[in-house]
Amino acid sequence: MTLTDNPVADAIETTAPGTVLSHLHPVGSFEVADHEVPTGREEIWRFTPLKRLRGLHSDAGYGAGATSSTWNTPDGVRIASVDGDEARGLRGVSGLVPNNRFVARVLAEVPSTLLVDVPAELEVTEPIVVDLTGSDASVTEAGHVALRFGAHSRAVVVLNHVGHAALAQVVEVKVGDGAQVSVISLQDWDDDSVHLTHHEATVGRDASYRHVAISFGGSVVRMDSNVSYAGPGGAAELLGLYFADEGQHIEHRLFADHTAPKTKSHVVYKGALQGQGAHTVWVGNVLIRKVAEGIETFEENRNLVLTDGCRADSVPNLEIETGEIEGAGHASATGRFDDEQLFYLRSRGIDEPEARRLVVHGFFNDLIRKIGVPSLQEKLMATVELELAKNVLKDLD
């Protein structure tokens, strides 16, 4: 296993003059015409198989009705599909100013917004689950979701993506001051689906935001998960778990933009890959702006390669504009099964398939426990088990 745990000194070095980091300081615009159609050579598109996106990144028409949404409504929460002025008023509610064409198009062209509105000080105990179910992957569609959490509220929102879809999506999250919020996005699509999604969050003063991305299914899934801070003392935890099979492209890009002092970001993404052509990408960008004194950041990505023929790209990137930071670091590791772990387990009588099962479950377990939604945790354990049955265990039986 190759492992790099880089302290701050190394991190600063990666931001030496001459390296390409300009993509962290884009000039945003709501005007679609201001954004070129990407060619694939741009830093932010270089890993993505554009040809497989069915035009979602460029000028695909947006159909309607192929993806339906249903949800539960806990007391005091408003969940509705809104349009007209109300929908327009929610564009950019997270502070998002589009820096690419698809995001600009979604904000400009999608008539309605799925709004989840949690009033200030409301503590919602049960998870708010929004099921987004696609019925036809040949229809290219787009959606805008706004999650607004009032000051000092507490809530968990699960966006559950299943079925057949070709979806361009923007999810905007506004976390009010002192709120404690989890947003969990599950990509468990069928094999023919394509999903291009941008999650943008602004975290209020002393608020905490946990974002969990879980990607198992779909032909191409690309998610950008960004967070910035509206005031000091905010904390963001960005967690991710992905499992890529034969031919799947799963890409996660993170951006923690430390725009306020005393803020925290903690990123942990773990992935497993199996089967010919399975490709995962993780890009973890952290920007510590001049004002952001006394911040803490740590980001980590680990990949477990289970078979031959897979590729895991892992790119941590830390850009620091102030010397006054509490702590910053990153770790990235991609490796195969650890022979010593397998030997230890097998020396206790555990056969090889079972030993591999234990190691993979163990690899994901810590992360799954952090999600904090027990019903979802159980489901994820079961999903990991199903994924393993496809390849790792099958070959050995």
Binding site: F343, R346, S347, R348, G349, A355, L358, H361, G362, D366
Partner: protein, 254 residues
């Protein structure tokens, strides 16, 4: 009833400069119910012997045989060896992140016995084993060996020994890094195991200290990949007084 027979075992490891022979013909029989101590200086090949018997993939067997009650151990996979009744308490137990001790122990017990242990007695057995080794019951929830102190790792190995109850146990420097109280606790665990009928023990150690608590039937001095001398427990006292110097000064031929 069990006999572990090692005959003229030769083992090499792959290095950048090609294979390097580490064990140069080791012959040793652990008869039914016997405890053998192997003592030797650093780098003499003690762990290599232990790992080779357990089947670690790093080591290549170039000659000789190992049998357990006549069965060819070297033809078995690592897990088959364990199920046949061999157990290795490792010098450096391996961390397995995210796998809880209780899940690990239950999975291992199920594999060794060929059936899941009865839940009620099993929970009690695990708690007893942990308690006897001075490990808090909360260890069950922790990841295997992760964040354990050196001493906790060693005690966890002996808890496994007691729960899995093999025929023959190989203990690779289980005593090193233990303070005197932990050493006694570990020795008591090994002695409980030995008190059963027909259990064999191969106790690898660098120091004579543990032999005050676990009295061996035979002591072997291991130098440069071979057994240089063997005797009874008195040989340990002699080593304590004189050290390994006299064996190291003997030209090793070749």
């Amino acid at each position: 009833m069990s006999t572990l027979e090692i005959k003229d075992l030769r083992v090499s490891v792959d290095t950048e400069d090609g294979p390097k022979e580490i064990l140069k013909g080791v012959t040793l029989t652990i008869g039914d119910g016997e405890t053998h101590a192997i003592m030797g200086p650093n780098g003499s090949g003690k762990s290599t012997l232990a790992y080779s018997i357990a089947g670690h993939p790093k080591y290549t067997i170039t000659g000789g045989t190992v049998t357990l009650d006549g069965e060819d151990v070297l033809a078995m996979s690592v897990d088959q060896r364990a199920r046949a009744g061999l157990f290795l308490a490792m010098q450096y137990p391996v961390e397995v992140p995210g796998v809880s001790v209780s899940n690990f122990l239950r999975t291992a017990k199920t594999a060794i016995d060929g059936e899941a242990p009865k839940l009620r007695t099993w929970v009690k057995d695990v708690n007893t084993a942990l308690e006897q080794l001075n490990l808090d019951p909360s260890f069950g929830q922790r990841s295997v060996n992760e964040g354990f102190s050196g001493g906790e790792k060693k005690r966890h190995e002996i808890a496994q020994l007691e729960l899995l109850n093999p025929h023959v146990a190989i203990l690779d420097e289980t005593d090193s890094g233990l303070d005197i109280d932990a050493l006694k606790v570990v020795a008591e665990g090994v002695n409980r195991f030995r008190a059963q009928e027909g259990k064999g023990v191969l106790l690898i150690t660098h120091y004579t200290r543990i032999l005050r608590y676990i009295t061996p039937d035979y002591v072997h001095v291991f130098v440069n990949g071979r057994i240089a001398e063997q005797g009874g427990p008195e040989l340990a006292d002699q080593l304590e007084a004189e050290g390994y110097d006299k064996y190291l000064r003997v030209p090793t031929g070749g």
